[in-house]
Symmetry: C2
């Protein structure tokens, strides 16, 4: 089954909007064992759009098209599909009714412009859109079936989940089983090396393995075809979990901040943070999770030494003796945060994010992290590479990962 993606919109060709819909769909098609053959972006131009429709439908079995479905003059998709098919546009009464109802609820009146969204090429199948005003539609054009969707991400993704992916699954008949584990702080080359015995195992012939670098995470994926796909995928999962052990922080849609919040919530415990070089990034990541207020008491961004002393009780002598970037200060930040908030857990981070501030003894990228808990304080030292943003991001995720491990 050949699939192509076609998107229309001037805004996609002027750099105004980055198309994130296509990678999203490609990722899901890949899980079904399909690689999109070609992706084409064209402007809101009748000639270009008609030409692209003819070319893509001549090559592919399915063309997923998006954009050009709105009420303005630039929205040309229905018109161009009709032209390519040699059929007129027809008013679709049920869609008009839904539009009218939608506008009534918004306290607005349906204008002839907006009615345009309910005109489709004769013979096309209309696909209702629960997320917005423009329905999608699908029609056979030459060899290929074209399905036309709005470009608004929530509508595009909703209609893909509801129509495109089930359609592809039905046409494929048998779909592969996919698996995904997420590793923390494992370079892709190490992951690949460790995976070799699994990948080269004759029992896994026909399985496609792959990596996604969602830095500082690496994701290991596999797609298993065939009738016993689910059982084979489950066996691969067991082996992968065995190989990477504690380096696996999650599977599927798991995210590190969510896992940490969930583990704390399950234990009925709270954490407090003493951040220096990460400047609030750990707090920001944790509080991005709904319900974080139940587990985060206090985060302190103690940039200045005075703040470290005053708010978190880091002794001035310690700062003088070891310097602000030191294991001793990381420990004192973690313990100070824990004590100040009367929390079960405290996290301390201090380091040199750069670009300036590095010395030969403590170059840019030097970071000390500590986790204080009911049974004491653990500290680690790291020498990260990269620019300010990379150093900070590595340190923040490392802190979450240390907390995850401490919460086992």
């Amino acid at each position: 089954m050949q699939v192509e993606i076609l998107a229309t919109g001037d805004e996609l060709l002027t750099g105004q909007v980055v198309d994130t819909n296509s990678p999203w769909l490609m990722d899901r098609l890949w899980d079904l064992g399909l690689m999109v053959r070609r992706k084409t972006l064209v402007a809101d131009d009748r000639d270009d759009l008609r030409a692209a429709l003819l070319e893509t439908t001549a090559r592919a079995d399915l063309v997923v098209m998006s954009g050009g479905m709105g009420p303005t003059e630039d929205d040309l998709t229905s018109e161009c599909v009709a032209a390519v098919l040699g059929v007129p546009l027809e008013r679709h009464e049920p869609s008009i009714e839904l539009l009218r109802e939608r506008f009534r609820k918004l306290g607005r009146t349906l204008t002839p412009n907006n009615e345009k969204q309910a005109w489709f090429p004769r013979g096309a199948e209309v696909i209702p859109n629960r997320w917005g005003s423009a329905p999608g539609f699908t029609a056979q054009v030459g060899r290929g079936r074209v399905v036309c969707l709005p470009g608004v991400p929530v509508e595009y993704r909703g209609l893909c989940d509801e129509w495109v992916l089930p359609h592809v699954r039905a046409r494929l008949g048998e779909v592969p089983s996919a698996g995904l584990v997420k590793l923390f702080a494992v370079p892709e080359s190490h992951a690949d090396h460790a995976m070799r015995p699994v990948m080269d195992d004759p029992a896994n012939a026909g399985v496609r393995f792959g990596y996604r670098a969602h830095w500082p995470e690496v994701h290991v994926k596999w797609t298993v075809p065939g009738p016993d796909a689910a059982a084979r995928a489950a066996r691969i999962r067991e082996r992968v979990l065995g190989i990477f052990g504690e380096q696996v922080f999650g599977e599927g849609k798991d995210e590190l901040p969510d896992l940490v919040v969930a583990r704390l919530a399950a234990r009925g415990e709270r954490v407090a943070l003493g951040e220096s070089c990460t400047g609030g990034m750990v707090a920001e990541l944790l509080t991005s999770v709904p319900g974080a207020s139940a587990v985060l008491d206090l985060g302190v961004v103690a940039y200045a030494n005075a703040a470290k002393e005053q708010v978190l009780g880091v002794p001035a002598e310690l700062l003088a003796a070891h310097g602000a970037v030191s294991e001793a200060v990381a420990r004192a930040l973690a313990e100070g945060a824990r004590r100040t908030a009367s929390a079960a857990w405290g996290v301390g981070i201090t380091g040199i994010a750069g670009p300036s501030g590095g010395t030969p003894e403590k170059p840019v990228g030097t970071v000390h992290l500590a986790v204080a808990g009911p049974s004491g304080t653990e500290a680690v030292a790291r020498a990260y590479r990269g620019d300010r943003d990379r150093v900070r991001r590595q340190a923040a995720y490392e802190a979450l990962n240390l907390l995850r491990l401490a919460l086992r």
Copy 2:
């Protein structure tokens, strides 16, 4: 002049990598008055690549192609361009020398695989690459000139700046003058309404105006063609600055966190933060700026009421009387942060980011912000729309903008 973009790489068609190079180049071409006509992504497949090269060069004057320039078997660009031209590949000695030198510095030996990167279609012009090992090249294919670049972003962008954009400028002869102002918290529709008199002014005939929604910012752009472009663009800039006044926070590459850090540094003043619903996002944004340590003393993420009382001295009676999400508490957070850190400025933010926690009186999106300074405390109340992330992001940028205005 017709320009198309062509990129190759399986990773672009499996959702593994999002192509950010193309929007970057499109944006720069748009500033030269050009809209890219079409963009095509194809897999690392000889047939697809040759077909795409023939199609794009038949339509366009310039095809900017990327990917497939590395040393592996999947890297097919040179080979396919040679096939389309009907010429052999030739070894380019100066590039071999540079590769050898590069590998010597890395302590590695040049393998025959790596030498592949120095073979080009006979007659192609080689474009040296100062950012990586694979040089680019350019050749005339039918109607179109194709320029082939590595896909690695730093190399792609470097070679675009050094070769592609100067080439386009030279071919265009006269290039337009462009301008860009950045507005905070102005809906695009309002910006468009306010810009109407400028856009409809006969003096600005031929000028292309546009908007970029970099939410919660809106950017207003204009591109002026013709011989007196620079003077006309300067006059438009004056009018736009006059129309939007204090709503303009910057121009060109200005970013809000950088501006706030720079203003504080110029005044030799410091700020301290008392964040609740933004959970450290304001601290994270400020500390993302190199040199932020000179202006940020302390950031406190006071999620729990106890933390608000204990660390920032927010009176318990105030919390009881007004609730944690109230103007009174925003003021107390700002003043408490300022006092605790002995800073010139204090910022306080408290609100309901959602998804839960809303009430009929204080629905999700309710946020109170305050800035405390040498001449008192100013507070504002906001009712933001959107999900947790949007509410937090709006509130964090609003806090930075309030601080910017206070620092005038």
